[in-house]
């Protein structure tokens, strides 16, 4: 359980990191918190020749919740520790779903080290942060030595542990949309063998209601039941205009479960995961709706 031999470079800035990526390309791997990468290296599932450390790049550690030209988004630097995000009260108010999802990510010790960008770039289909990004339609800012581009979650997550990030690109920032609707509620839940373990199935939802109690905006998604975290924009759109009565919620949950594509493993069969997908979807939509209703 020891990693194979490698060499490392410590980047002092994002530009330096991008330059190194350009030079070494495929033989180099970025390390942020390392909470997923280091175990994979210990198990020799990955054996990079070089590690490029971005932990000391302070320009990658920030949370901007103020209005600064990106009015409706909170920007989080890729190397911001999960525990720092977890403690940020202003952020919890503006992107509540992210805070709720973080409560299920690993343990205190791993959140003190793990980063927001690291979890998203790792793109485990069972992980909570990629799911939150998918549900909210977060944007990933990718930087290379020659250009910067913005990729929406929808296309960023390309498959299990696979993203749209090029070999010469570094995830610099994640932009989380803020919903302006006053009556917005959100919920996140999951089932796992032990708290802090990877979920068998996870689910999240964010709902906004109008003054008359009708749904004006909705988004929900599922983790652990496909190649990537899944959002269901078409099904969510169907909820808009309804009072989120039982029938509407039930049919959205049933269709989401039907559209998901879970696999079987030691911990749960595909059928059980599909069952959880339906139950948890209904549960988070109802909980988000309750929370929105409480904001009279």
């Amino acid at each position: 359980m020891k990693s194979a031999t490698f060499e490392y470079i410590r980047a002092g800035s994002t530009a330096e990191a991008c330059e190194a990526l350009k030079q070494e390309g495929d033989s180099i791997k970025l390390i942020a918190g390392g909470q997923s990468l280091i175990p994979m290296m210990a198990m020799r599932l990955v054996r990079p020749a070089w590690l490029l450390d971005i932990n000391e790049v302070s320009a990658l550690k920030f949370i901007t919740t103020s209005d600064d030209g990106h009015r409706n988004a909170v920007r989080i630097g890729a190397c911001t520790r999960q525990s720092v995000v977890e403690r940020d009260k202003a952020l919890a108010e503006r992107v509540p779903l992210l805070r709720q999802a973080l409560g299920y990510v690993g343990h205190v010790q791993t959140r003190n080290r793990g980063t927001i960008g690291g979890s998203i770039a790792h793109a485990d289909p069972c992980a909570e942060l990629p799911l939150a990004a998918q549900i909210l339609g977060a944007s990933m800012i990718l930087r290379s030595s020659s250009a910067t581009r913005t990729v929406p979650a929808e296309t960023f997550f390309a498959g299990p542990m696979t993203t749209a990030t090029g070999a010469d690109e570094c995830l610099e920032e994640v932009r989380w949309p803020v919903w302006d609707e006053r009556r917005t509620g959100s919920a996140f839940t999951e089932i796992s063998t032990r708290h802090g373990d990877f979920a068998m199935v996870s689910a999240g939802a964010q709902i906004a209601l109008g003054d008359d109690g009708r749904c004006v905006r909705a988004s929900f998604g599922l983790g652990g039941v496909g190649q990537t975290p899944l959002a269901f924009p078409r099904l969510a759109q169907r909820l808009v205009g309804t009072q989120l009565e039982d029938e509407a919620v039930r049919s959205a949950a049933e269709d989401a479960a039907a559209e998901s594509d879970p696999g079987s493993d030691l911990f749960a069969t595909a059928a059980y995961r599909r069952h959880l997908a339906r139950v948890l979807t209904a549960r988070v939509i109802r909980a988000a709706c309750e929370q929105a209703r409480s904001k009279a």
Binding site: E7, Y8, I38, P39, A42, V108, Q109, T110, N112, R113
Partner: protein, 165 residues
């Protein structure tokens, strides 16, 4: 193939240490095998058991999930650094003895670090918060209840001591 060596400087339990380390040496292996600080245990070596917990700049982390060079320029506290300056047990450690919060002792260093990390930021934790703080640490002996008892009693003793001062 011989590994290239990298220079590091780490403050360990208040003492400045410098060393040359191969990139692939984990922080826990460096602490145990080079500094001979064998109080920190190593169980799974891939971030599951929590036995290797140490504080990095005052916050609990898993030292098997860090390479030694990542601690360069930082402060590390191991279980050896929790005792009082005269070497006697800290209130938290003493509470572990009082409450029978250990049997084989394998998980104990990690539990102490996790609990100490909690008490730094939250001196009067609820039982739920204690459980949340030690959720990343596996114990195969105690059934956890006595560990929760120990942390709760340490918090009360610390509060009392603070009140007296």
């Amino acid at each position: 193939m011989t590994d290239k060596l990298y220079p590091i400087e780490v403050e360990v339990n208040g003492v400045a240490r410098s060393a040359m380390v191969p990139a692939r040496v984990s922080l826990v292996d460096w602490l145990r095998e080079e500094l001979l600080l064998t109080g920190t245990h190593v169980g799974c070596e891939h971030g599951i058991c929590g036995a290797c917990s140490v504080m990095l700049d005052g916050e609990p982390v898993r030292s098997c999930l860090m390479f030694a060079w990542q601690a360069d320029g930082h402060r590390v506290t191991t279980v050896e650094g929790l005792a009082r300056p005269d070497g006697s047990l800290s209130i938290l450690q003493d509470s572990f003895c009082d409450s029978h919060a250990l049997q084989c002792g394998y998980c104990t260093p990690g539990m102490l670090i996790a609990a100490q990390g909690l008490l730094y930021t939250n001196p009067r934790p609820t039982d739920l918060q204690i459980r949340e703080a030690i959720a990343g640490n596996l114990c195969r002996c105690t059934g956890y209840q006595q560990i929760v008892d120990a942390v709760r009693s340490a918090a009360a003793r610390l509060a009392k001591e603070k009140g007296q001062r």
